[in-house]
């Protein structure tokens, strides 16, 4: 049995990319993603990874180069954050309909203004609708495992779509955590060599990225959405295969002490670690509070989510971004919409925490679970910004 080693989570992600024998990395430096690509360029420079590292001049070109590289049949990786993801935005819409299985790590970070390099989910929430799969890591081990899983899922011909691996900037990306590093042989057993679904090949020339007029655009978009939605069972299958090879089990929705819970806190990413500690203390104090963590954000695992929150009287949806101009933040908007037609549904309240790197503490989760109960008698009209200085 391998022993865990202490590794900075960014480096663990880069090591996963190496273990997957990635062919091309095209990336541009942006905090807090830099350690991932710095380590990758080091691995390429010292021959540990036989890949082309394209040091592009912007994130727009990073994603463009990734699209070109993936289309040419290379296993392709990039990483970014915040402003960088925003600069890629146009290209992010284009990769899914072209069926290109690019894997992108996002060290989640706030967006300007004011400029802020610390963690929240404003970046990923701005690309909810573009057609990429999205996984969220809670720990360093998950960040590493999700990266390997990212290639497995994205490159499956039933999917052949790009995927983001989200890890909280600094609060996860820069932490040194105990990580089990799989061997190259184990990864090779799990992840077959990349066989592209479509490819630019002089022996079999195809045209990619054609003009779709009103007579074909609708269908092209529908097909992309259908494939994304249909990728959920492939994700679950990959998680199951992963457990067989590596012994670590993952679910698209994770639950913690939800059995018999009156209130369930819904969240994504690394804050769930703190939340679970807070929850333990609440149970000790006689409060029945559970945690539901969304690991697979896209496609949204509707059935698994509904199952996970079954029986709860109150849902407290904890967001880390604001959807400006509407009463709910992004995750709450989606949760409410998917529960609206249910005959029995919980009272739902929404909290925004940890913007721009503000600490999220155990007390915050205790406060939120108390508020969630209060809102069952007098419904909330707008998300509550926890810890805002008035």
């Amino acid at each position: 049995m391998a022993k865990p080693i202490g590794l900075e989570v960014s480096l663990a992600v880069a090591e996963a990319v190496k273990l997957c024998d990635t062919d091309v990395v095209a990336a541009y430096p942006i905090t807090p993603q830099t350690h991932i690509v710095e380590h990758l360029s080091e691995l390429v420079a010292n021959g540990e990874l036989d890949a082309a590292y394209i040091p592009v001049e912007s994130e727009q070109s990073a994603m463009s180069s990734c699209i070109g590289s993936s289309a040419a049949g290379a296993r392709t990786f990039t990483a970014t954050s915040s402003q960088g993801l925003a600069l890629m935005n146009e290209m992010l819409f284009i990769a899914p309909p072209l069926r290109l299985p690019i894997v992108m790590a996002i060290a989640n970070r706030a967006l300007s203004a004011p400029i802020n390099i610390w963690n929240d989910h404003s970046d990923i929430m701005s690309i909810r609708d573009v057609g990429w799969l999205a996984l969220f890591a809670e720990t360093g081990q998950e960040a590493l495992d999700m990266t390997i899983l990212g290639f497995k899922i994205a490159e499956d011909h039933r999917v052949s779509l790009p995927i983001t691996i989200n890890l909280d900037g600094f609060t996860l990306s820069h932490f040194i955590e105990p990580v089990l590093l799989p061997t190259k042989e184990e990864v090779a057993k799990f992840l077959p060599p990349f066989k592209p679904l479509v490819k630019l090949d002089i022996a079999n020339p195809i045209s990619m990225g054609l003009l779709g007029g009103p007579e074909s655009y609708t269908e092209a978009r529908k097909v992309t959405d259908d494939i994304l939605v249909a990728s959920k069972p492939v994700v679950i299958e990959a998680f199951n295969d992963f457990a067989k090879v590596f012994g670590r089990e993952y679910k698209v929705i994770e639950s913690y002490r939800t059995e018999g819970a009156d209130t369930i806190l819904v969240m994504m990413g690394s804050i769930a670690e703190t939340a679970m500690t807070a929850i333990d203390e609440l149970w000790d104090a006689g409060k029945k509070v559970g945690v539901v963590r969304i690991r697979l954000w896209r496609p949204f695992p509707v059935e698994e989510f509904k199952e996970a929150i079954k029986g709860a009287k109150n849902l407290a949806v904890i967001d880390r971004a604001i959807s400006m101009g509407v009463p709910d933040a992004p995750v709450a908007l989606e949760v409410k919409s998917l529960l609206y037609n249910e005959k029995v549904r919980p009272f739902i309240s929404n909290y925004v925490v940890g913007l721009g790197g503000r600490d999220v503490t155990r007390d915050d989760f205790k406060y939120i679970s108390g508020r969630a109960e209060e809102f069952s008698t007098s419904p909330q009209t707008q998300y509550e910004l926890v810890g805002v200085l008035e």
């Binding site: 394209i54 072209l98 045209s207």
Partner: protein
């Protein structure tokens, strides 16, 4: 090997490539389009063992309406400003796959093809990055029709002085375009790449040989190609080749190469035709007056002389 010593198979009237065009007919370019003529000749010179990356623009829209495509080689279009970056990815992937034994054994030139807006304006950053990174099998082709024709004749930084466009219209307070063309070949050459050339479909063998040379040379190449647009220039469609000849013979669009930093004038124009002959055929310049022609002639000649000086100062070394 020095770029100027790199051998390549020359196209002559006798060795003109036969067989079907690499860019199939049936595309939807306008009547008399000089841009698609240039593109067809460039691709004919290379054949189909290449990969093409198109920027959004006329040449993309008119050749690839789903479910049809004119491109007989692998082709991809992603967006407007990023042809150079997409091609960088394709080129790097091809190299690494060949190295890892998963690609074709031969060198496959990767062509990034964009218009003047996609090159000199919105795409200049991606282009500069790609040239600086020195991709070995990378050829960038700017098809310069001197405005955003696909969106309806808006001015670009390649629109010539005095041209009336839909966003630089001639009016009582304006001559139309008030600025001179951005010198893209000079900007490309400043990256220290081995091959930069201007070309013009009215001189088709010269054009075809330049892309052959670009493909043979190891290292990035930049071709700036004159692309007459009858629709946008208010020019009779049957005059697209004629206007091209005039462009070079008036010294307005000189044909030259910069090989390893050495300058070659491919067509010396010792006795230039009057610039008026060029302008008077095009509706976009119909408002220009004699004083404008005088100003233009003076500047055109000065730029031509500067190029001649460069060919004398930095000539290609004689074969040893």
């Amino acid at each position: 090997m020095k770029a100027y010593e790199t051998p390549y198979e020359k196209v002559t009237a006798k060795t003109f490539p036969k067989g079907p065009d690499a860019l199939a007919s049936g595309h939807r370019a306008c009547q008399g389009c000089g841009e698609v003529l240039a593109l067809r000749l460039l691709l004919k010179a290379l054949g189909t063992d290449i990969i093409c990356v198109s920027a959004t623009g006329c040449m993309e829209v008119c050749t690839a309406p789903f479910p049809q495509s004119s491109w007989r080689m692998p082709w991809i279009h992603v967006a407007f400003e990023n042809a150079a970056a997409v091609a960088s990815g394709v080129e790097s992937a091809s190299h690494v796959l060949r190295r890892k034994g998963r690609g074709t054994d031969k060198r496959v030139p990767v062509l990034a093809i964009a218009g003047d807006g996609g090159t000199a304006d919105i795409g200049i950053q991606a282009l500069s990055g790609a040239l600086e990174r020195y991709h070995e099998d990378f050829i960038y082709i700017c098809l310069d029709n001197e405005a955003y024709m696909n969106t309806g004749i808006q001015r670009s930084s390649e629109t010539p002085f005095g041209a009336s466009t839909t966003t630089s219209p001639y009016g009582s307070k304006s001559i139309g375009q008030t600025t001179w063309k951005k010198d893209m070949p000079a900007i490309a050459a400043a990256h220290g790449i081995p091959y930069v050339a201007t070309a013009n479909p009215a001189f088709h063998l010269d054009l075809m040989n330049k892309i052959r040379r670009a493909a043979a040379i190891k290292g990035p190449a930049y071709l700036h190609v004159y692309a007459p647009c009858p629709t946008g220039w208010r020019l009779k469609p049957e005059l697209a080749v004629e206007i091209g000849k005039l462009a070079t013979n008036t010294r307005i669009f000189p044909l030259y190469e910069v090989i390893d930093g050495c300058y070659v004038m491919n067509r010396k124009v010792d006795e230039p035709k009057p610039v008026e002959d060029y302008f008077k055929l095009q509706g976009r310049f119909r408002h220009l007056k004699q004083e404008n022609f005088d100003y233009i002639r003076e500047r055109v000649n000065a730029e031509y002389d500067r190029l001649i000086t460069l060919t004398q100062t930095f000539p290609v070394p004689a074969a040893s």
